[in-house]
Symmetry: C2
Subunit: 305 residues, 2 copies
Amino acid sequence: MKKVKVHSPGTVANLVCGFDILGMALSEPYDVMEVTLLDEPNVIIHNKDNFDLPTEPEKNVAGVVLLSVMERMNNKVGFEITIEKHIKPGSGIGSSAASAAGAAVAANHLLGNIFSADDVVQFAMNGEKLASGVKHADNIAPCIFGGISLVRSIHPLDIVSIAVPDLFVTVVHPQIEVRTADARQILRQQVLLKDAIKQWGNIAGLIAGFMKNDLDLIGRSLEDVIIEPVRSILIPGFDEVKKKCKDAGALGGGISGSGPSIFMFSKEEKTAKSVEAVMKDVYNRIGVEYNTYVTTINKKGVEIL
Amino acid sequence: MKKVKVHSPGTVANLVCGFDILGMALSEPYDVMEVTLLDEPNVIIHNKDNFDLPTEPEKNVAGVVLLSVMERMNNKVGFEITIEKHIKPGSGIGSSAASAAGAAVAANHLLGNIFSADDVVQFAMNGEKLASGVKHADNIAPCIFGGISLVRSIHPLDIVSIAVPDLFVTVVHPQIEVRTADARQILRQQVLLKDAIKQWGNIAGLIAGFMKNDLDLIGRSLEDVIIEPVRSILIPGFDEVKKKCKDAGALGGGISGSGPSIFMFSKEEKTAKSVEAVMKDVYNRIGVEYNTYVTTINKKGVEIL
């Protein structure tokens, strides 16, 4: 029986001024999945964690992905999957994308990599559709390919890999619930042209900064004048965390995905650790439970072990 | 008496999806200027062309730039300038920027380059202010530095040089008048968030394409869903020119500056020439006078001869 084990990383989507188009993979946390190829059309799910996620394939993010692969194979195969999640659902660091992308890459591997990279992304997007109602790829793409991914367009799919700068990443997950649907609904449908111009100046600067490994340009470009001012209202402590992290030396950062996690870039590991201490201080004082990670940008994406 | 002669190139600002932030310098056309350093506080202007531009320094784009340098020098010097313009005023390919940037670079050269690059841009922006009422730098920056310039921010000034791809440029200047002020007024102050997202996906793709010299990515990213649909209404033949140029093999392009010139990128010189033929056909049929240029991206900027 063919079997594969994968690590599937957490991801930060909506990278500051790159709302809906830019995401990056994290070295930590990551989910662990074991997938076995079956010779009958069935998807069997086992959870090896305490998140109590549904095991009916139609209701499970990895499950719907595997069902879509199974269907494409004319129901001549099936999959059994054991999922050990470390990325908390609802954290805003790509928990559903890790499940979806890990399952899609593992299934393709078991089938001898018969599907193209774009196909694998499409399979995985079925999982995002189940999780958030929207087929988006700004978590899926960096999760699968690693590094920083630009999703220039979804129809047709156009994913561009962006050079990875030498940066450390600090993430805090304050354990409050922000529903992706709420975070989406709160956004205005119209924005000021002058703000949009500022935003595309910043995203252009950010991409140039990544490609040149110009860390100061990255820092100057890490500004979101459109989404963050609205969505940060849903995250207690956001303004204080951001200000104090920058005072502690962080280059900049913002909301991870649709929140509630917040991430910050730093040039040095020791700064990234001071930034973590700042985050802990704020949430200890506010009295909200949290997790933190001091990590780097993951260049591998979903890893076959 | 210290004297210098410079070539100051035409430029394309508002580079498709890079409205207000992205410009590039052209190898042709360019203005020729001769500037002499005087030891008395005076600015004397001679025109060596048929455009009948004002010679009072306060009303002349190069003049106000030289006045601002003179003031900064505590009125201890002056300048005499002879201007031979080849870039038609009102063409949309940076005629005023060429006057302003050429004068600023020449003056700084005559003074032993005592001013920083940012200072020179600031001096030149006084000329843009006179010409269009707005201090913008997306023509000035590429004119001075050559290549492709991102103006991420004006306050504070943040100019980023972007790698130059291997492309040919075809420009057509249909000789109708589009006033910059009108072109600005026609724009809506609010835009749809979904359009803004598309635009910043495209500008991110365009910058990545330039940095990677990925000509097809550049082509896919050359799409402006916000400004062009509105402004192109002011340019007779625009839609037809664009469609037929792409049919003839152009990668893509759009309005140069605020028009009426239209530019197109091509991978090969022979395609750039076919594109020129298409442009000529359209305007011959419509019955509008025009100029065309088949050229490249100028990497030098203002050149001291």
